[in-house]
Amino acid sequence: MTATSPLPLKAKDFATDQEVRWCPGCGDYAILKAVQKVLADLGVSRHNTVFVSGIGCSSRFPYYMETFGFHSIHGRAPAIASGVKLTNPELDVWVVTGDGDGLSIGGNHMLHVLRRNVDLQILLFNNEIYGLTKGQASPTSRRGTRSPSTPFGSIDPALVPALFALGAGARFVARSIDTAQAHLAETLKRAHAHRGASFVEIFQNCLVFNDAVFEGFTARDTAADTQLLLEHGQPLLFGAERNRGLRLQHNSLTLEIVTVGENGVTEADVLVHDQTNRTLAALLAGLPQPAFPMALGVLYDHPATTYHEELQAQVARESEVGPPDLESAILKSNTWTVA
């Protein structure tokens, strides 16, 4: 997973010669930029890096990365990426998927790749809509979303990707925003550093079919009040003056917003972020919107042995007891000789 190229690569070295075919202004551009920069910063090599995607606007991503890439079929990227990683664990494998690709048709593969803890970076571009097929509601679309397939408003409740991932057993769950370049880059680096499946939800604006749907917490002028930027070991504070915080209501096991310095509240009352606590992660993932700020950054990071590590260890053990070669496997039992 280290660069073998003689020169450290720059962000632009990760760009291909293919014309980028997203709508002008699409949030995907910003994410592409961030990823190329992150790879350069990490000093990885092109030939040991693989991007695997499904189908959707977001899933065109691999075409624009001068690495190995597989633009596969709708929803199946986690399964394909698993095959890649288990075949060659030296590779740095990234999955790029959308809210439809990764959570609608591909929900089951997402579930199981997280459960198995295959060492992949999974970037879910959540624009709460099906972009490529022209704007139908997706599983993350808010109830009431009007779309060509739901002209009178969608009626199903939206899935919360981070809650789903935690329920699936994910050991790394994070969130960022397409245009928040620094935060996004930092979050991607954290995902890369995590051994095992890293699930990163990136709020991505689809300006054609779902413009400004994240405006509530992405608008720059109100960001301080609407974003809760998580840092391990730091109190859960937000607001322009960083004086608003989250406090645990012990009896009801819920969080409430308090203001430090008001009603006798001190910073000690504010919950401290513990990225290894799944219960806290779930509370933060599920903070009701827009009453609470949107929790961004690393919600959960609690590594465990990865699937390929387990596999390698096991095969090493098996090799001591198993057949040494094909011949002896074949001749192991039920044999006789005809002279």
């Binding site: 092109r46 698993s82 095959g83 075949t87 579930l111 001749l331 006789w336």
Partner: protein
């Protein structure tokens, strides 16, 4: 060859060329084990053989019911044994249900061994008997040997302190002992096997061995009626070498590994999801992981094939395996493998359909699905295995073609092949080719869809290799650059290239041989897959016994067909295609060659009988000229 002497036996033995025995009882009665052990002993005594395990879909069906009957048939002897046998010489029926289910298959004059202990009114009722058949005329056409095996077994194992339930479990070994005696087979291998299997429960091992010995001794010492005396079965005239019995699943597992080795691929990646009767291949490979196999039990069939595709992309040989319903789920991803032109082996152990159908019964009804079951124009190579041992060679061939031509290969097996066993002359693996696969290296003008001008196979660049970074996917790509292209003429060109690439595989496979008979004549039988045995025998017998002008070819290569197939087909007045479906190969032959091939269809979930095919041959030849 002269009949082998049975050590220490005082019994005069009549000689027989071949014998068909079916062990049958409740699912819990251990009939599969019994049959497998008999198979082993028969093989060790030098018989050729063929087996047919047949068990219920239920894990443990309620005791005594007809749907809970589990059977194991073995045909062994000196001649070329190619089928499990049409008719039974011996039926061993452990309970009334087994008797009622199987009696119709016993030849007139055949032997029926019955454990009378199970013939209680309750069991008789469950089997649908109104009165005890042992006391009726029902069995008159047969020779009957009613034995209270339960009591005999209980006596034999009395010393080992087992509960009576445990003791009863050895009944199958008693019956096995008797049959081994009757056909002059050894029993040492079984003794060894029991000792190993029950190493942690020596009392059980001892009891089973005692039961086995008791059954054997019973034959030796009891005053059996003259006509039920022991037989000797002539040894088969097998070529010298090391043999083992092998079923299709094991042979496939070995063949896939041997195939990867012989093309020089280090890792086989097997992505699969359990399904009857395909799971046995997963199980076999899971035990062979130290040999460079990764087995990955995916969450479903789609993930299974996709993981294999990812593995092939990364330079392993991706293999996936399932049965019909699972294959159906894989069809979209197969199209991706076709479009990305990655090597991939897809094994389909066919079972009776449609839908869930009859999971434990074999059928050949997924040929259409293999050939045509994808969206768009998506040709793949299709191969079929003929016998359990043939699975080894076909698996190797599938790997060779997939890698050599950069394309998915569908290998058709079926539930019968997967579990049936036959003797296998273990090949000399050192004699196998040892190729070394060519992964693409950076070259001037490299692109991922650069083709070999002869085969049209594309290059295989793999992640980890500097300088061959590239992107592939399911969208149409430019013939000249590999980049996405929606150009109309390019799409036509690529469609043609994909078809042509598969068509040119015909240059890389052997010409079709005539299996039995001549290359022209009045009637040709064309077969594929597991029907090989019965068709082969039927044609041989029709020629030899009846002097009929009939020949037989058996297709291993279903897409593309061997180049000389057209000529062969045109050499005959009539073409008859026995298939365990309603005419799928028949339709393909008709449209490809415009010949009036006719199907001999069998869709009962049971293999063809030799006699059925012989009748059909006769009927076809008597049926006048082809229209």
């Amino acid at each position: 060859m002269s009949p082998p002497a049975v050590a220490g036996s005082k019994v005069r033995r009549d000689a027989r060329d071949a014998i068909v025995i079916r062990f049958s009882g409740d699912s819990g009665d251990g009939m599969q084990l019994t049959g497998t052990q008999f198979t082993m002993e028969a093989a060790l005594s030098g018989s050729d053989l063929s087996t047919f395990p047949d068990y219920p879909a239920e894990i443990r069906a309620p005791a005594g019911t007809t749907f809970g009957v589990s059977s194991f048939q073995i045909h062994f002897g000196s001649t070329d044994i190619m089928t499990p046998g049409d008719e039974l010489d011996v039926l061993v029926a452990m309970n009334p249900a087994a008797l009622t289910v199987n009696l119709q298959d016993v030849r007139v004059g055949g032997l029926v061994v019955v454990d009378t202990s199970g013939f209680t009114p309750r069991n008789l009722a469950k089997a649908g008997f109104e009165s005890n058949p042992l006391e009726s005329d029902l069995l008159n056409p047969y020779q009957v040997m009613p034995l209270d095996i339960a009591t005999l077994t209980a006596a034999a194992v009395a010393d080992f302190g087992l509960s009576s339930k445990e003791a009863l479990r050895s009944r199958n070994m008693w019956a096995l002992g008797l049959m081994l005696w009757m056909y002059g087979r050894g029993k040492q291998a079984t003794v060894d096997w029991l000792q190993k299997k029950f190493a942690k429960a020596p009392a059980i091992a001892q009891a089973n061995i005692a039961a086995l010995n008791a059954g054997h001794a019973y034959g030796e010492t009891a005053e059996l009626p003259e006509h039920l005396s022991a037989y000797s079965v002539t040894r088969a005239d097998l070529p010298p070498g090391v043999y083992r019995t092998v079923n299709g699943a094991d042979a496939l597992a070995f063949g896939l590994i041997a195939g990867a080795r012989s093309v020089g691929i280090k890792q086989l990646f097997f992505g699969s999801y359990p399904i009857t009767p395909a799971s046995t291949l997963l199980h076999a490979l899971a035990n062979l992981r130290p040999l460079g196999v990764v087995t990955f039990q995916a969450e479903d069939e789609i993930a299974a094939i996709c993981s294999a595709i990812g593995a092939s992309f990364a330079g392993a040989l991706g293999v996936t395996s399932s049965s019909g319903p699972g294959l159906a789920l894989k069809t979209e991803a197969m199209g991706l493998a076709v479009s990305t032109e990655l090597p991939l082996v897809i094994v389909n152990s066919q079972r009776a359909g449609p839908s869930t159908g009859m999971p434990t019964k074999a059928e050949q009804s997924d040929l259409f699905q293999a050939m045509y079951g994808r969206n768009g124009e998506a040709p793949v190579i299709v191969l079929a295995a003929a016998t359990p041992a043939d699975c080894f060679e076909v698996a190797m061939e599938a790997v060779r073609l997939a890698v050599g031509h950069m394309t998915p290969v569908i290998l058709l097996s079926d539930g019968y092949l997967a579990s049936a066993a036959e003797p296998w002359l273990v090949p000399d693996l050192s004699g196998l080719p040892s190729g070394s696969v060519q992964y693409a290296q950076p070259t001037e003008g490299f692109h991922p869809f650069k083709r070999d001008p002869k085969s049209l196979a594309r290059v295989w660049p793999t992640p980890g290799t500097p300088g061959v970074e590239h992107r592939i996917g399911g969208l149409e790509k430019s013939y000249d650059t590999g980049n996405i292209s929606y150009d109309p003429d390019n799409h036509a060109k690529m469609t043609k290239a994909r078809a042509e690439k598969v068509a040119r595989v015909a240059d890389d496979i052997p010409l079709q041989e005539v299996d039995v008979g001549l290359d022209r004549g009045r009637l040709l039988l064309v077969g594929w897959g597991s029907t090989y045995g019965p068709i082969h025998r039927a044609v041989l017998q029709s020629r030899e016994d009846e002097g009929l002008d009939v020949s037989f070819i058996h297709l291993r290569y279903l897409n593309p067909f061997p180049k000389n197939l057209a000529d062969l087909l045109r050499g005959f007045d009539r073409i008859l295609v026995p298939e365990q479906n309603t005419g799928q190969l028949t339709a393909i032959l008709r449209s490809t060659y415009l010949v009036d091939a006719q199907v001999l269809a069998k869709v009962t979930g049971k293999p063809f009988m030799v006699s059925e095919i012989r009748s059909a041959i006769r009927a076809t030849l008597e049926g006048g000229q082809p229209s």
